[in-house]
């Protein structure tokens, strides 16, 4: 890969791993989302138990110039709780589907976290001093008899141990009949969208009792349902533009200036399919599980079951690049359908506009360099956990004679899925989530 050294490949090294070692994973501990904030100083995770854990990067240690700051726990809180909708006999999971950070405007940090039905704006603030010197209370906290207070004492702020507090500032509820899969903050930093299976809503961050419906693909007759919304994202620079992907492998780009209800797309991105290749599985594996704009906004990336595609916003009829993530699974689709793995929703992420990353099975994850056309498979495993040791590339043997160090398709562990990965916005630091552990890898610095 083209790294900072110019022409050198990035050499990924293990940095840290968070989470328990035990094989018996409690459902609540399953990581469901990972996201760096805009500076990369903070890294948030959400889990199936509705909890958010935020890590903060330590300031760079001048004496240890060979490694960047480590990430340590900064704050943790319960974002969502399980609920039961009695009217619809519907159990609402507390699982955090997505976290998105707001850009920092003042001392506090803000993030949006969402489960299937409710989005919450959380404020994370630091407190490192407290007022001391009140003379109105006794030692035990009871108020003193006012007639015994004879001096007017002004409290003084004194330093205290750092306390990080998370408080919910806004609750955006009751706007989604179906399950929320995406939230995306607009480049205007005032509005954001939330998307469920059939509808997309536009919110103002300050207003919780109202949202505008901007996309509605619910058919009049539910028997005619053929397609659902799988992901949505605002363009990084154009505040009027957003895209949403579907279970049929299409992406629609909408311009909010065109009309209040963006049911008619401005652009439709779809790769033509060869009808002779069509099978029972075609539609299922074409379903897009994630869509992400490049940092420039010129390109967007989509992830379907077997591949990652890069689209140029100026060309609708086919992607400009397609990268195979694990093509060897095409001849395993029958069993992957039977064990439901074919419905796994993998995410993907960018390093600027040059390198893309996505997860696979057996705790493998893949990176594709758009410039050199080289790709690499790495593994998130505690066995490789010596800091500053470069990770060894992995290889899957699709068929035929398995070479030493290769792993055969049939030996892959399909319970070890890497669905969520994130790339630091400025540095070559990546966060990779296995089922219940968070791995942090860094570029080896010379």
């Amino acid at each position: 890969f083209v790294g900072a050294g110019g022409g050198n490949d990035i050499q990924w090294c293990f940095s840290q791993v968070k989470g328990a070692v035990d094989d018996d994973v409690a459902e609540a501990d399953i990581i469901s989302t990972v996201e760096f904030n805009h500076s990369g100083e903070l890294l948030a995770t959400g889990d199936k138990g509705g909890r958010v854990v935020i890590f903060q990067q330590e300031q760079e240690n001048k004496t240890q110039s060979h490694s960047r700051g480590e990430y340590n726990v900064y704050s943790t809180f319960q974002s969502h709780e399980p609920e039961f909708d009695y009217l619809k006999s519907l159990e609402i999971e507390e699982k955090i589907n997505k976290i998105r950070w707001l850009p920092q405007k003042n001392a506090a940090q803000f993030l949006l976290s969402t489960n299937d039905k409710t989005i919450k704006l959380w404020k994370i603030s630091e407190r490192d001093k407290r007022p001391e010197g009140y003379n109105l209370k006794e030692e035990d906290g009871r108020y003193r008899d006012p007639t015994t207070v004879t001096t007017l004492r002004v409290p003084v702020f004194r330093p205290m141990d750092l306390m990080v507090e998370a408080s919910p500032r806004r609750i955006f509820a009751n706007a989604h009949t179906y399950h929320i899969n995406s939230i995306s903050i607009n480049s205007d930093y005032e509005t954001y969208l939330s998307a469920d299976d059939l509808r997309i809503n536009l919110w103002h961050l300050e207003i919780t009792d109202r949202s505008f419906n901007i996309v509605d693909i619910k058919p009049a007759n539910m028997e005619e349902l053929t397609e659902v919304i799988t992901a949505a994202e605002f363009h990084p620079n154009s505040c009027n533009t957003f895209v949403y992907s579907s279970s049929k492998g299409t992406i629609r780009l909408c311009d909010m200036r065109a009309s209040a209800l963006c049911d008619r797309h401005s652009k439709l991105f779809e790769e033509p399919e060869d009808p002779s290749n069509r099978s029972f599985f075609s539609e299922i594996i074409s379903s897009i599980s994630d869509v992400k704009f490049s940092h420039s906004g010129r390109y967007m990336m989509t992830r379907d079951y077997l591949s990652v595609k890069i689209w140029d916003l100026n060309m609708e009829n086919r992607p400009v690049e397609t990268y195979q993530v694990h093509e060897y699974l095409r001849s395993k689709l029958c069993s992957l359908y039977e064990n439901d793995c074919i419905f796994d929703k993998f995410e993907c992420c960018w390093n600027g506009s040059d390198i893309v990353m996505t997860g696979s099975y057996n705790n493998f994850f893949r990176m594709f360099d758009r410039n050199t056309k080289r790709d690499i498979t790495l593994e998130a495993s505690r066995e490789n956990n010596k800091p500053r040791t470069v990770l060894k590339p992995r290889k899957v043997c699709a068929s035929g004679k398995r070479k030493k160090d290769e792993i055969s398709v049939d030996s892959l562990d399909f319970n070890k899925k890497i669905l969520h990965t994130a790339w630091h916005p400025k540095e070559n630091i990546i966060a990779v989530a296995t089922t219940n552990n968070l791995y942090i890898f860094q570029d080896k610095m010379n």
């Binding site: 039961f84 159990e91 609402i92 099978s279 299922i284 029958c334």
Partner: protein, 99 residues
């Protein structure tokens, strides 16, 4: 499938044939609405207070059929009671990522 034709069958089609052999009644429509409807109905539990109360009224003198040994299977031929639904409580334990 005829093994001599193997070269001309794509891996995907071969897998499809395997699946159809196992499940001959699989829906005619490839992919399609079955999955989508299942996706939309995620989280549906089957306690219906109307059914429950009507059954209670009808069977005033008899015992309501109670749930069998498998408490998780709250559908079928018995009336689910509110106690049968697994109680969902939020985990008050701190995440192990923070530990």
């Amino acid at each position: 499938q005829d093994t001599q034709e193997k070269e001309t069958i794509t891996p995907e089609r071969a897998e499809e044939a395997k699946l159809k052999a196992k499940y001959p009644n699989l829906g005619q429509k490839p992919g399609g609405s079955d999955f989508l409807m299942k996706r939309l109905q995620k989280g549906q539990k089957y306690f219906d207070s109307g059914d429950y109360n009507m059954a209670k009224a009808k069977m005033k003198n008899k015992q309501l059929p109670s749930v069998g040994p498998d408490k998780n299977l709250v559908t079928g031929d018995h009336i689910p009671t509110p106690q049968d639904l697994p109680q969902r409580k939020s985990s008050l334990v701190t995440s192990k990522l923070a530990g």
